[in-house]
Amino acid sequence: MLGLTITQWLFGILSFMAIMFALMVVFTRNPVNSVLYLVLTFFCIAGHYLLLNAQFLAVVHIVVYAGAIMVLFLFIIMLMNLNADTEPRKHIATRAIAGVVGGVLLFVMVGALKGAEQLQMVQGGASQIGLVKNLGKVLFSEFLFPFEIASILLLAALVGAIMIGKRDTNINSKETINN
């Protein structure tokens, strides 16, 4: 079929779907649909990771992004009761300018990156570094300290999110006393 291998077909289809879903994220008016399209985009990117034989990252990507982060987004959107009717829209001129600026940026980036690393093939199936065993060895020997720091960062984010998110009872009680 056109001289393409199955890997190349998969790459083409996954790329097309990822770009289409990403465009739908930006151009859909309903925020809930936007989140769902972003989940589909993430699944396509996870497929790309599988093509590159980065199996550990593919699984982590689905669990962390599609499983955790997107559910968080969906919860917040449903909590705020957002839908297409409440969706604020920018002025048409602003949106046109955004499109033009994005197009020019794409033009510049494609022009700048056109000749980069020409003809170097990514040997997806042959590479073994993305497997859990090999990646775990690197992660827990060479990158052990950053790994521990990341856990502290996550703990700090957890405490920070709870502190910011909780209703400030002191201020409310003061206001009721003043009233």
Binding site: V25, I45, A54, I69, M121, V122, L154, I164
Partner: protein, 103 residues
């Protein structure tokens, strides 16, 4: 050699995804959608890191992507907490309206 995909294709795909994210940040007013577009940009960069890591057969790139995912999760948790607090106080997350509330 026939089984591989040129690294150029990955560079172009990442550039296109990144720029869709940039357009989303500029064109939308809903703060949550802007957050999602930032996630899209992060993912474009992640994809390119994994592609180059496979190309050079070096695991550091994939470990780096792992850390980026951890930081993105932390960022989203704090960011959405801030947004829900803003919504509770102002009853809107339209960034054009929020910028007028500075004073």
């Amino acid at each position: 050699m026939l089984n591989g995909i040129p690294i150029n294709y990955y560079i172009m795909l990442s550039a296109v995804l990144f720029i869709i994210g940039v357009i989303g940040v500029m064109a939308r007013r809903n703060a949550i959608i802007i957050f999602m577009c930032i996630e899209l940009m992060l993912n474009a960069v992640n994809l390119l890191l994994v592609a180059f890591s496979t190309l050079h057969n070096d695991a550091s790139g994939q470990v780096f992507v792992f850390f980026i995912m951890a930081v993105a999760a932390a960022e989203v948790a704090v960011g959405l907490a801030i947004l829900s607090m803003v919504y509770r106080n102002f009853k809107t997350i339209d960034i054009d309206l929020l910028s007028r509330l500075k004073n």
